[in-house]
Symmetry: C2
Subunit: 359 residues, 2 copies
């Protein structure tokens, strides 16, 4: 800290700024013997400053260890230098990948990243309080089912919004073809010779869930396999709306008990698949030799335990979504909002053996 003499006419700032208190642009101006507008010009690299004054100002900045206040800057310029991102969780590998993509797109800019995880239960409240904070340049919203109320709130933001895994007429969005993904997964299992294929679902009757079951049925129909509703089970654990290892574990145990003859399972999420894997292993069988397993969503762990998965390319989507948001933000993109459908890709982690009966 340093003490310095105050001279010149004090514009509007109270004189006492002694040793503590924030260093503002006024202090710098005084120290350099110029007006604040000049300091501002230096800060913003305006060419209209003589080298001599520029150096003087820079010295003053250095001496005072001054840093411009982003809040004030943001208010004065009427532009928000912040991108808000809201997703259900930071930690799920699924959303983690998404975050990675978002970050890599943001890194190229000067924008800040305001992050919020909505949680599973209190989703509504967290979402609303987050949105009502306002003062963001743009918003990326992932994994949220949009309704009239949310849409209103989104519009109140008065800034561009891009949805990931959701859709609404007024907003840009990215969605996956869930049906095609599920069908791909189950067809893969069918192709390996399996005919008794279980499915682990989530509890809630979400739109996504319906679509995946449709895909599951389509694959069976295509192969001429009868649909057996009892092969579709869910766990009891409600954590994360059933997208949890626990739920997968419980569901798999149910399946093993009620249908000991199944040789393959399609799980609705990566974490469920992990739980199912644990259940299978504990029962003394192995993946994929005894029971083939395909899970939705990519996860690193998969490759260590040999399960195939439907990859949604989260990272790529995160990047694309952010880039779209940025283009909206800069005003370069004036096209009407549009929802883009992404085709999930099946990744075979380890060549599963063909159908074998449990002995």
């Amino acid at each position: 800290m340093c003490i310095f003499v105050i001279f010149g006419k004090t514009a509007r700032t109270p004189i006492m700024l002694a040793d503590k208190g924030k260093v503002t642009i006024y202090d710098v101006a005084r120290r350099a013997g110029v007006a604040i507008s000049t300091v501002s010009r230096v800060l913003n690299n305006s060419p209209d400053v003589s080298d001599r004054t520029r150096i003087r100002v820079e010295r003053a900045i250095e001496d005072l260890n001054y840093r411009p206040d982003r809040t004030a800057k943001s208010l004065a310029q009427q532009e928000r230098l912040m991108l808000a991102v809201a997703l259900p969780s930071f930690t799920s590998p699924f959303h983690n990948e998404l975050l990675k993509g978002i970050r890599s797109a943001i890194r190229k800019t000067q924008l800040d990243l305001l992050l919020s995880d909505l949680g599973s239960k209190l989703r509504e409240n967290s979402l609303f309080s987050f949105l009502q904070r306002g003062a963001v340049g743009g918003l990326l919203l992932a994994g949220v089912q949009i309704d009239e109320r949310i849409a209103t709130e989104l519009k109140a933001l008065q800034s561009p919004v891009v949805l990931i895994g959701g859709q609404w007429p007024a907003f840009d969005g990215f969605m996956w073809d869930e049906t095609a993904g599920a069908q791909q997964a189950v067809s893969h299992l069918v192709g390996l010779g399996h005919r008794r294929i279980g499915m682990i679902r989530i509890q809630r009757d979400s739109r996504i869930q319906v679509l995946r079951i449709t895909g599951y049925q389509a694959a069976l129909r295509e192969a001429g396999i009868d649909f057996d509703p009892t092969l579709i089970v869910s766990g009891e654990t409600e954590k994360h709306a059933g997208f949890s290892e626990e739920a997968g574990f419980e569901a798999m145990n149910k399946l093993l008990a009620s249908h000991p003859d199944i040789t393959a399972v399609f799980a609705s999420s990566d974490v469920q698949a992990i739980g199912a894997w644990a259940a299978i292993t504990e029962s003394g069988r192995s993946v994929p030799d005894d029971i083939a397993l395909v899970g939705y969503d990519d996860i690193k762990t998969s490759r260590y335990i040999g399960l195939s998965s439907i990859d949604q390319n989260m990272q790529t989507i995160g990047e694309r979504a952010t880039e779209l948001l940025l283009s909206r933000l800069s005003g370069a993109n004036k096209e009407p909002a549009r929802t883009t459908i992404i085709q999930p890709v099946l990744r075979v982690r380890r060549s599963s053996g063909t159908r074998r009966t449990l002995s």
Copy 2:
């Protein structure tokens, strides 16, 4: 959108706000026929408002779909409603756990979370540009080695700082007893009967690395085992400063080639351990039956592939660090800055078999 009549004396706002343009507190005041301060009172739940006017104002807010501007509020109140968190990566399971803890502590407050991952290579630049943004209430800095320059920047923030995994006289910090952790890991292996114990290190000669090697040596000494420097190897891949699966994979392969008689390995990080696991598995041996593996840092995958690990309780630390920051922020905590040492804990994932020679 709605058109509304403008009446009363227009204070300072230009009249034309037509259909577009931001809805401000002035618009609400006009609409409700009150002064802006009254609107402000309603917004901030001041008791000094009659129910009648409160309702009028609330109606106006509703009608105009008004949302207060946090930037302006923040500037006016001279308090930053934002916590900045900077860590090397979002995606590493290690930091992910940290983030989880931070979030759970923040959730209890009204604060926003400004997040930045520093990356591994461009660390310096990202860190500085992030810090120079300023305008944050407090900062949580993880995994950064503090030096004079960084400390200066940190001080310029003029807001409380808590370091995680770093230390500096002027700032609060949390550190792990790396030596004790490594010693614990290796002692565990010794206790299982192993005597040829390899160590996978990172490339850089960071302080942490030195401490861990010290712990490794201490455990050997305690057991009367001679220290063989060639048992400490690192991978070639420089990604993430050697904290990567690739590096672990390469290092493990080196070890298997140069010391086919080793029966246990201590890896410097969870991801390295995963890489090592892959190398061991590919060589036809298994973990932990043929080669026992202990990795630093907790990771979920561990339990699926049976490796023990040194758990640093990242989530708990994240929470404690954030709470400390919050207490500093509120001014409740006036104690001098202090660095807290955390004792890592060994978690045995699956009871490793005792030493077996490779046949």
